[in-house]
Point group: C2
Amino acid sequence: MTDGPRDSDRHRITGFSNPTVKFLRSLRDKKHRRRAGKFLAEGLRLLTDALETGRVPEMLVMATERAPHPLLRTLEQEVIRAGGLVVETSDEILSKITGKSNPQAVAGVFAEFDTSLAAIDRHSADIWLVAQALRDPGNLGTMLRTGDAVGAGGLILLDDCTDPFAVEAVRASMGAIFTQRIARARWDEFLPWLRGDGEGGGQLVAASLRDAVPYRGAPYRAPCFVMVGNESQGLPEEYEAACDLRVTMPMRGRADSLNAAMAAAVLAYEVLDTLERA
Amino acid sequence: MTDGPRDSDRHRITGFSNPTVKFLRSLRDKKHRRRAGKFLAEGLRLLTDALETGRVPEMLVMATERAPHPLLRTLEQEVIRAGGLVVETSDEILSKITGKSNPQAVAGVFAEFDTSLAAIDRHSADIWLVAQALRDPGNLGTMLRTGDAVGAGGLILLDDCTDPFAVEAVRASMGAIFTQRIARARWDEFLPWLRGDGEGGGQLVAASLRDAVPYRGAPYRAPCFVMVGNESQGLPEEYEAACDLRVTMPMRGRADSLNAAMAAAVLAYEVLDTLERA
């Protein structure tokens, strides 16, 4: 039998005023998150996903009263092996940290990733998702999950988007936060980057009502960048105009648009089908 | 010039303890909502959508300090004409009512609709969405919006789903709460209803990993009922087994599923394309 984590490896925290508790709670706030360069992911499944993609939390926080679980044991071992901290605390304090009344019995603190465009190799995948001024962290996380499903390389966040490291975004991503590349850029950085690789760049595609072809059977080509706009404003006209391909999606009801994350999913699956048949 | 709404038609409320304020706030809670048979919709756009589909709020609540707007004036007129109540109050109280720190300057109270299966005419549309044990009101609202976009007839909620009249669901529906039919039923009511119209019933379709055909080019036929399962559990095996058609969607990443509302959108667009080409 191998040596498991020992009690002496665990730090027990009992007070709400403990500095570690304060630090962990502060990670629910964007400003503090950014300053610390850390983010929080909750739940054994998410943390196991992280581990499988080679991401070990710097700190692991567990309920003192927890059911034993082999995956949790593995997680704890890996954190200790990597020199990280394992913390035990009450359900009550864990609730305060995660902001959920029914917290999943474990949370981890991770270092934020490099989110510069330079960290993205566009030729590592055929599909990329792009979102402009996305407001809702749930939408952002769902787009990461959709990206994972279609085999996209990652998500490029243009202009002033909600924070991909927000607890709600991480949660909605269902682990895709650890598998999808994420970049943040302004439009005037993104466009030159997209055009400027000397190999024809990437194809920029958006749903549009202007001068567009049906999304079904449109000439998508890799690497294809599927762009959606802000939830209430849509894409700025200038952004649509800069696209290599504008496509229309059927709108049979009263509304003239889909939820941004929905539009991204329907388009991305269409692109996937086209590229796989090519 | 026609007579517009007069000051005497408006009831001004200034205190948090006013019974109307208490009533309005209580509509954020499912139990109170169901007891009252009323729900809350916010924002001029949503209320205008409602009006265009013939739904007049029983009560209209506006900020006393508001910018004049012709649509708001119309709305007010219609409420008064229908014998409804128009209430003016402070931004602060409006925030308390809507639970948002930045409330849209108007909210309306509507009577809940009939959500029995009997109220649904399956032959009034070619596509219907079905959700089982859906937990998240945002997902529910988004499914309504997707339903509107694909020209679906409505959304059937199976088993213990989140409340379609929750403020978050209404908001995410972007008006589709007023255009899509909504029914609530248990599985053992739904299935006999689906099979029992004597005209071959409807086609029940779900994404599945078992004994399934590719979702692309699958033999969808109207009326087609696209069913998705609970966000974390998926569909019960029995429900999948009862489907007329099980389809697989490509999953190119680490995860084996899409967000329920995403899966519904991608499938519904595929069904729409198939039926329109037929």
